[in-house]
Structures are given as C-alpha cells and as structure tokens.
Amino acid sequence: MVVLELVVIPMVAAVVVFSVRNDRVASILSTATVGFLSIYLVLISLFKELPMVENYIEVVVHGHFEYSFSLGVDGFNIVVLITALTLLPSIYLYSYDYMKHRIKDLEGVTLNLFYGLLLLNTSGIVGVLISYNMIAFIIFYELIVLTSWGLIYFYGYGNRVMVSFTYLVWSLIASLIIVIGLSTIYVYAGTFQFNPSSLAGIPPWVYYILLIGFAIKMGLFGVHMWLPLAHAEAPTPFSAVLSPLIVGIGGYGFLRVVGPFVDLYELTLVLLVWGIASIIYGGLGALLEDDIKRILAYSSISHMGYLVLALSVHDPLLSTMSFSYHYLSHAYAKALLFLSSGVLIYALDIRNINMVGGILRKYKLCGLGFMVGFLSLAGLPPFAGFISKLLIISSVIRTASEASLELYALSLAALVSMVFTIAYGLRVIKNVVFGALRPSNVEFVSLPITMHISLIIIIILLVITWFIPHLLLNLMLGAFKL
C-alpha cells in the first residue's frame, strides 16, 4: 500500500478541506499535504527498489475477463511524477494570496472550494501517472477533466462559463476517442494492463486513433482551439498546473500506451510532421499575441510539439529520457512564467504586454522569473531547458540518421524551428521586464511573501536540475524493466 497513498492522501485531504471553513487553515492543510506527498515520493525513489507495481482489486468474471486495479512507479513515470509533485507545493503556496485577491471579485465561491478542487485535481494527475491499467487511467483522467472544468468555471476570467464548457467538450471528445482506442487494444490483447508485448498484432489505425485522442488533450496544431482559451481564462495558479502538467499528460499517455514500442515508419513521419506544425504554429502564435497569458498558451502548443518529437523516437530509453526531461524543464519554466504573469495581474491587473514595462525596477523577482523562464524554455544554461533541448536534439537526430533521409531532413527542420522560442521569449522580456517603467501613474503594491517564496523555489529547481541530470536520468534508467 505504498503507491496507493499517493492518490488517497490528497483525496482525503480534499474532503477535509471542503469541510474546513477557515481560509488559512484550508490553505495550510492542502499545501502541507502536497509538500508531504513530494517528500514521500522522494523517499520512495530513494529507498524503494524500482520498478514497483502493486495490485489492489483483482476481479475475475466467469473466466471471461480478468481485471486488477494496479498502480506502480517505474522508469516511464518516475521523473514525470517527481516533476509534478515538486512543482505543486509552490503553486499551492502561491495560490493563497492570489486567490484571496481573485475571490474579492467573485460571488458565492470560497477559498476552500478552490483548494479542495485543486487537491482532487492533484490526485487525478498522480493517479493518471501511476496507473498501470486502462480502467484506472481513464477514471483518473476523468477526475482531472472534471476538477479542471470546475476550477475554470468557478474562478476563471472573462467569459468563464463558455470557456469552461469549451474545455469540457473538447476533453470529453478526446476521452471518447482514447476510450475507443484503449478498448480496441483490450479486444485484441485481452488484458487491461499496459503491456508493451500486448501491442503485437494490433492494426495500425488504433495507434492513429489514440494519437488523435491524446493530441486533443495535448492541444497539438489543428486540435488546439480549446487550449489558448482555457489557459488564458483559467485562474493563474491553475494555469500553471494546466499548461505544463495536465496538457503534458496527454503526451505521457501516448508514451505509456503506444509510444516507443511501435516501430511504424508512417507513424514516426506523422509524429514528426505534426510536431513541426505545432512548434511553428505555436511559435508564430506566441509572436503575434499581445496578451501575456495567451502568449504562454501558444508557447505551450509549441512545446507540446517538442514532446511529440521526443515521442517520435522509437528507442524506449531515449524516448522516455528526452520526453521526461523536457516535461520537467517545460513544467518548471512554464509554471514560473505563469506565476510571474500572475504577479502582473495581482499587482497591476494588466495582461497586455504593450501596456506594462520596466517590471525589473519594481518587482525584481517577477522580472527575474520572466527572464529565467523564457531563457530556460529557449534552452540556455544554467537552466534545465538546456539539458532537455540537448536530449531531444540528440535522440531525434540519432534515430532519424539511422532510419532514412526524409526523416533526417524533417528532424533537422523540426530542430531549426526551435528558434521561435528565443524570438517570442525575448520579445516579452523586452516589453515587460526591460524598458521604461509603465504604467506611470499607478501605485505599485508590495508583493506578499508567499509569492516570493514560491517563485524562488521554482527558480532554484530550474537551476538544480541543470546540475544533476545524471542523478535523475540514472534513477530513471535504473527503474526500467524492459
């Protein structure tokens, strides 16, 4: 019962938080819960032998089908899990003051509802990551969708009813497609467990169906319409969860179910082309937007393209390494950026990057956050983005150079399009962080300590993960049982 607690603890805490009326107690309780979870996971990864799989409910119906509710930690999910659980405490911490500020403008919602929903959401994220079978996977995925919808619906900005509904519709369509794909795999393989060996003999269209489903979840080019809406209008701390963690889980799902085990030339080609299209489209979108949160949303589309590039590698080790590390660096950097743009919304109530400037003068940490975040996304040392860029480039080129000339050319094209990240990142830094102080006749309120602490924690995480890639990668390689 070691792995199950990762899911159960936040659920229990959510129930408690729902019933607590005091804002401060609710926030402290939920932050402490997630903090405990992250320490718990680190202890697991240090002292338990990985991979570790646990079966809980085992059902046999008339010999007709067998089912066991199994959860586990292995090489595929360890780094992604570590990412999620190290990032979430600082987001919880940040939410306290930000959401108190946000709730002032809303009626009939409380802070403990926010924290309860966020805890359930966290439970869903962890659950999807550690589930070893299709049923658990789908249930936890639906938990994520439902709670995300609630968070946007109750606390979002703008036309939040429409936005949350759009998100819900798209996610459910994606879920439907994924369920169809998974059930077909079950029909052919006869087991609900995720098992690479059971993929043999499955017709290729199943992979494409699954790819489309997960692509909607990831917001790749063409099926991304819900993503900028949802990211821009979600409450900012939740955007920091939604953008890197929840959207990236679509890619994780594809990695877990199909990913590197299938050696289909056409599938690789489709992945590469779709990845390039997403990178370019997201980059252009981020260049042409003026709303900071929409810029970050388009940047997420672009970076989901990188994750797809990592998925197109069909060496399991390389693919998982580059995927996980990019998931990690993107999650930290994007969360940092969302939290920094949250500072702008909290203090100035401005989202247009043309109306704000010289933030480095007044909010040093916020300006630093923007710079570190964008430079890490662009892959500069000493931030984790450098390692992930290196891993993705090297694994994609290695696989492509062994496969064929077209793939080689395509992967070069994909990697060349990395330039976009530099362009839009620098544009935001130029407008927001540098320049003369704008707006001129506004009182700059001082930031609460919680925001400072959470920004500092994430910056430190970004730097540390640059120094210790070998520890994480060795942990991951050791947890593989292939």
């Binding site: 079950y186 319409m225 892959g379 500069l380 000493p382 990697l415 530099i422 060795n474």
Partner: protein
C-alpha cells in the same frame, strides 16, 4: 597542482560573482571582482609557464555529467595546451585592466546605483569564456558559449530603464534611435538563433563520431573512407560554423555588433571587441587541425574553407565601408572590429589551401592578440572621450589636442597600429597576413586585403581628424574623469608599442609553438608587396585628411593649398563620386536576397510598427497565420459557443439551472462512454 590552478582560474570569478551579491557596498563588490580576476590571471600565467615547452595537460573534474545511451559520457573535462593557455592569459589580463577601468566608470553612473549586477554579469562572462577556451568537448564548450551569449545579452541591456541618454543611433529626427532594451533584443535574437544551429551541428557531429570530444573528430576521416556521404559531414560543419560566424559578427550574421554598442563602454571593450567576439575565431582555430585532416579525404569539404574566406572578405570590406560612414564613435569602432575579424576569418580559410596550414593558424593568433590590444585601448579611450564631452557623435566632440595630450597619444598609437604603420605591432601582423595569403597563392585575396587596408586607413584617420579637430576655445569638459581610467589604455598602448619593436620575435615564437616545427624554412616576402600595402595605406590617410579637411585646426592655412590641389587635379569630381558612393554603397540595396533576410529579422524585431509596409514574405506569413487562426477560431465558435447555446436552451427547456446543466452534460457523456466500453467488453 595544475588541477588546482585550473580550478582557481575557473572558479575564482564564479565564486566571486556569487559572493559579491551579499554586499551592497559599491567598492566592496568592485574589490572582490578585481581580486578574483587577478587570481585568475596569476593562475593562467603559471599554467602557461607549465605548458610553454609544448606539453598538453588533461584534467578531468567530473567524468559523467550527462550520459546519453550510445555516446561517450559527457564530462567536465579540460585540456590545456599552448593555444588555450595563451588565450586565457590574454582574456584574464585584459579583464584585469578593463575591470580596473570600469570601477570608476560604473560607480560614476547616477542612474544605476546598484552596481552588483554589472560585476556579477561580467564575472560570469569571464568564467564562461575561460570554459570555452579550456574545455575539450563540444558540450562543455557550448555551455560556456551560451553563458557568454547570455551575459553579453544582459550586459548590452545593462541600462534597461531606456533613459534617452543611453539610446544609440541617430542623431535625433534624422536617423532611427535604438533603446538599450531593443538593442539587446536584436543582439540575442541573432546570436541565440545561430547558437541553436550550432548545437544542431554539434549534435550531428556527436552522432557521427559517437563522442563529444574534439579528439574523436578524427573518426570522421575513417568514416568518410568507409563511405558515409560527404554532405552529411559538410552540412553538420556548416551548421556548426554558423555559431562562430554569428558570435564573431561575420557576414551574413554581422548585423548585431553595432547594436551591441548600447552597453557600457568597458563591456564594449572587453566583450564586443577584445574577447567574446574572438571566441568564434578561437574555436575554429582549435578545430583547425581536424578540419584540415578531414579535408584531405573529402574534396567537398573545401567548401568549408571557401565559406570562411567568403564570409571573412565580404564582412571585411562591408564593415570597413560602414566604418567610414558612421558618425558615432563607438559605431566606427564596432564596424572596425567586424572588419578586423574578417582578416582572421580569411586566414582561417586560407589555412585549408596552405602548404603548412598551421602557419595560417599562427598568423590568426597573432592578429587576434594584436587586435585585442589596440582595439580595447581604443574603446577605453572612447569611453573617456564620451564621458568627457557628453556626446557620442564624432562631429560634436571637437576636442583640442593640446588639452587632451595623453588621450590623443593613446588614440593615435592605437589607430596607427590598427592601420598597420611600422614599426607598431599592427604592421607586423599585417605583414604576416599578407605573407600567408600570398604563400597560399591567393592573389585575389591579397587585392581584397589591400582594399581593406586602404579603407582602414581612411576610416581610422577620419575618426582621428574629426574627433581631435576642435578649436582651442571649444566648450567641453563638463565631466571630470577619474585618473584611474587613464592607466589601462596607457598600459595597453605601451604594450602595442613595445611589442611592435620586438615584433618579429613574437611571430617566430608563435609559429614555433603553434606548428610545433622547430626549424621552419622562412620564406621572406618580396618587398614589393609591403611597399604596395604601405602605399595604399598612405593613400587612405591622405584621402581621409582631404575629405575631412574642414575639421583640422588652423585649416584655413592649408585651405588655400587644398583648393589649389582641387583645381589642378580636379579632385572635386572624385569627391562627388565618393559622395555618391557613400549613398550608393548600401549593402542592403546591393545584396537583394539580403533584403528579405534583414526584413524578416526586422519584422521580428519591430513587428508592431513595420509589418504592414514590409515585403512579400512577411505579408504571406502574416496572411497565412491570420487566415488559419480565423478558420480555427471559427471552429471554436461553432463547436464551443453554439453547442453551448443549444444545449443551454435544451436544458433550460427541461428545467435545469446552469450549474446542474453542466453536471448533467458531464454525466450523460460519461455514461455514453461507459456504455460504449461495456458493449465492447461483453461483445
């Protein structure tokens, strides 16, 4: 022993950068950084003495930093030889002098009180540069490389508040002005993109050889013999070379260097003339033996050397012409830097065709050191001049020689060295360059070098004449300059002067150490080449004086004779032609394809203002994007908003409230899903 020394050399700036963040006091942080750089200097000096006899020291600090399956583990490892220690000594020495200079420069700044940012960034830069120089594998080198890009970007944007006195370009209302934040943006956009290409090239090479270490590049030779395609190797090297070309501000990625002048002057002196822009030259110099070995096997590979030669010569001429047109002091110097690095690129390219390739390498190194000395001296004096007069435009300075004797002498000697007047160090390196170019049999390159010598003489003399052409009663000097700021340029200039007198010895030593051949048969250059080059220089000086004669003090005395000259030789015609050429020699107009590229960059840079009236490509991209976005948004509307509307109507008709509506939608959909699954399960 050497381990510890190297650690001291690399870590002293890094640790100092972190330590000085604690103290808020200006002088303490300056003191800490100066001490650390002195430590580095001492360590690099001892290291140079250790390898002076041709030895090579390898040092492994961390063996496995990044482990990629199928590749040798990437470690933190260094190799010290004569080349690397000499260049690190140069970097540390210049850094010591320039940091001394910048104490009073930075402290005098009234707008930016917290100087810790300056010291932090410049120390991080020095550490990254040393990593680039000493590392023996591509990835570690690239880490330092990106560190340099980053610190350069942040130092150019040091005056991030965009106060109007820090704007460059202009003059106001006549030409566009650029804010420091814009300038840093442009700089990093070009350099950072090129760095991405460079990483791509590095990884392609790593995949080919299976190792990140330089020494394993020899594997490519065997691979080529075994029959891997030539173009893969050439393509990866071209991608790799885009990094050095951008970093050294060579054509076609040279546009950023003039913008980099928005930073503080010590930064321009250290990063953007003496050290960072030489990193590109250095890294090619480091790989030169491997490049030449590979080119012996593959004939296509000579393309690389042609690329270097073309890039170098084009940027050399273009930049020299632009230096003759600029009216900002620092801009003249920036263009001059591009032009001088062009010489080094030509030499590196010529190495592919020379009999003993490393002779060209030695010539490159010689010119690198030489240029670092005189150009940083020029920049430091430019800082003093700008500080004193309060203007950055040449024609507004109008200084009088008598009152600025020491500054004038420093500028004069450095400029003469830049022009290549004997017996200064610049002359010997020019001679060495011509000797190498002719030795490789490239007479066209010799002609281009002559043209560039002419242009160099022209712009350097023009700068001197205009700056020091003031009347004695001119108004200036509303700022006093700290005495400490005079010594570093003085030391650098005297180094140029003294080294010039013993110039031949330096050349011989460099040749011996770089080529590792004891007895090089020395072919003496025919004197006619030297005479030709000197004559061209003389012509350039004369022309500059002639065109700018009105700036020369007591020019009324000369005026009559010049008028006579003009009448006699009808030089007025020449002047008219020259003026036309001034307008016409605009490379943006000359290189048609380049318009598209520069406009694309510009489009990225000033999207807000310019995209409407720009060329075809940008309009197409823009329209494509708008159309695609519109269509997709339409889909969102149709699927999202309408379904929302109708469903709402539907559920309202049934009698649900809003909140329940959504929950029921959810439950219905979920049950449909589950039903589907169950049907599939018990089929």
């Amino acid at each position: 022993m050497t381990n510890d020394l190297l650690i001291i050399e690399l870590m002293a700036p890094t640790i100092a950068a972190l330590v000085l963040l604690i103290f808020k006091n200006k002088s303490i942080s300056a003191f800490i950084s100066l001490i650390s750089v002195c430590l580095s200097f001492a360590a690099s000096l001892i290291l140079l003495l250790n390898v002076i006899d041709g030895g090579i020291i390898s040092i492994d600090l961390v063996n496995e930093w990044i482990v990629l399956p199928g590749l040798k583990p990437i470690g933190v490892t260094f190799t010290l030889d004569f080349l690397s220690t000499l260049v690190s000594l140069l970097v540390c020495g210049l850094a010591t002098l320039i940091l001394t200079y910048s104490i009073s420069y930075v402290n005098a700044d009234s707008d930016y009180h917290d100087t810790r940012r300056y010291w932090f960034l410049i120390l991080i830069f020095i550490a990254s540069m040393l990593v680039v120089i000493n590392s023996d594998n591509f990835i570690l080198m690239f880490v330092g490389w990106e560190g340099m890009s980053l610190s350069s970007y942040l130092l150019i944007g040091y005056y991030y508040g965009d106060e109007s006195k820090y704007w460059i370009g202009g003059p106001l209302n006549k030409a566009p002005m650029y804010k420091p934040s814009q300038c840093s943006y442009i700089t990093f956009l070009i350099v950072g993109s090129a760095d991405t290409f460079m990483l791509l090239g590095i990884v392609m090479l790593m995949v080919l050889t299976g190792s990140p270490y330089y020494e394993d590049l020899y594997v490519i030779k065997e691979l080529l013999i075994e029959g891997i395609p030539d173009w893969a190797v050439v393509l990866s090297f071209i991608l790799f070379l885009l990094g050095p070309i951008a970093k050294s501000a060579q054509f076609p990625l040279h546009l950023w260097l003039p913008y980099a002048m928005a930073g503080p002057t010590p930064v321009s002196a250290l990063l953007h003339s003496a050290t960072m822009v030489k990193a590109g030259v250095y890294i090619i110099l480091r790989l030169l033996p491997y490049l030449i070995e590979i080119s012996h096997v593959s004939s296509v590979f000579t393309l690389i050397f042609y690329l270097l030669v073309v890039s170098g010569s084009v940027s050399m001429v273009i930049a020299a012409v632009n230096a003759g047109r600029s009216i900002e002091l620092k801009r003249v110097l920036a263009y001059s830097t591009i032009s001088q690095i062009g010489y080094m690129f030509i030499l590196l390219g010529v190495a592919g065709f020379a009999e003993i390739p490393l002779v060209a390498g030695a010539a490159t190194l010689y010119h690198l050191i030489n240029h670092a000395l005189f150009k940083s001296a020029l920049f430091l004096t430019a800082g003093i001049l700008i500080h004193t007069t309060g203007t950055k435009y040449l024609n507004e300075m109008g200084l009088h020689i008598k009152e600025f004797k020491s500054v004038f002498i420093v500028t004069l000697i450095s400029s003469l060295s830049l022009i290549g007047v004997p017996p200064l160090m610049g002359f010997w390196s020019k001679e060495f360059i011509i000797e190498t170019v002719i030795g490789a049999g490239h007479y066209i390159l010799f002609l281009i070098t002559l043209l560039c010598s002419f242009l160099t003489a022209f712009y350097a003399t023009r700068m001197l004449v205009i700056v020091f052409g003031g009347q004695s009663d001119a108004h200036y000097g509303h700022h006093n300059v700290d005495r400490l700021m005079y010594y570093p340029p003085l030391i650098l200039t005297s180094a140029t002067f003294i080294a010039g007198i013993v110039g031949l010895d330096i050349k011989g030593n460099l040749l011996r150490m770089i080529t590792l051949i004891e007895e090089l048969e020395h072919k003496h250059l025919e004197p006619s080449f030297i005479v030709a080059s000197l004559a061209v220089i003389f012509a350039g000086v004369l022309l500059a004086v002639y065109v700018n004669v009105s700036y020369i003090p007591y020019s009324s005395m000369f005026d009559r004779s010049f008028v006579k000259l003009r009448k006699i030789y009808s030089l007025r015609k020449l002047l008219i032609i020259l003026k036309e050429y001034k307008n016409r020699f605009n490379y943006r107009k000359m290189f048609n394809y380049f318009i598209v590229l520069s406009r694309c960059v510009n489009w990225l840079v000033h999207r807000e203002r310019h995209y409407l009236n720009f060329g075809l490509v940008t309009v197409v991209i823009r329209n494509f994007f708008t159309t695609a976005n519109y269509l997709l948004d339409l889909t969102v509307m149709v699927i999202g908003r309408n379904s929302f509307k109708y469903l709402k109507k539907l559920f309202k008709a049934v009698g649900y409230a809003d909140m329940d509506t959504f929950l029921s939608v959810y439950v219905v959909t979920l049950s449909i899903l589950l039903t589907g699954m169950l049907i599939l399960l018990f089929r």
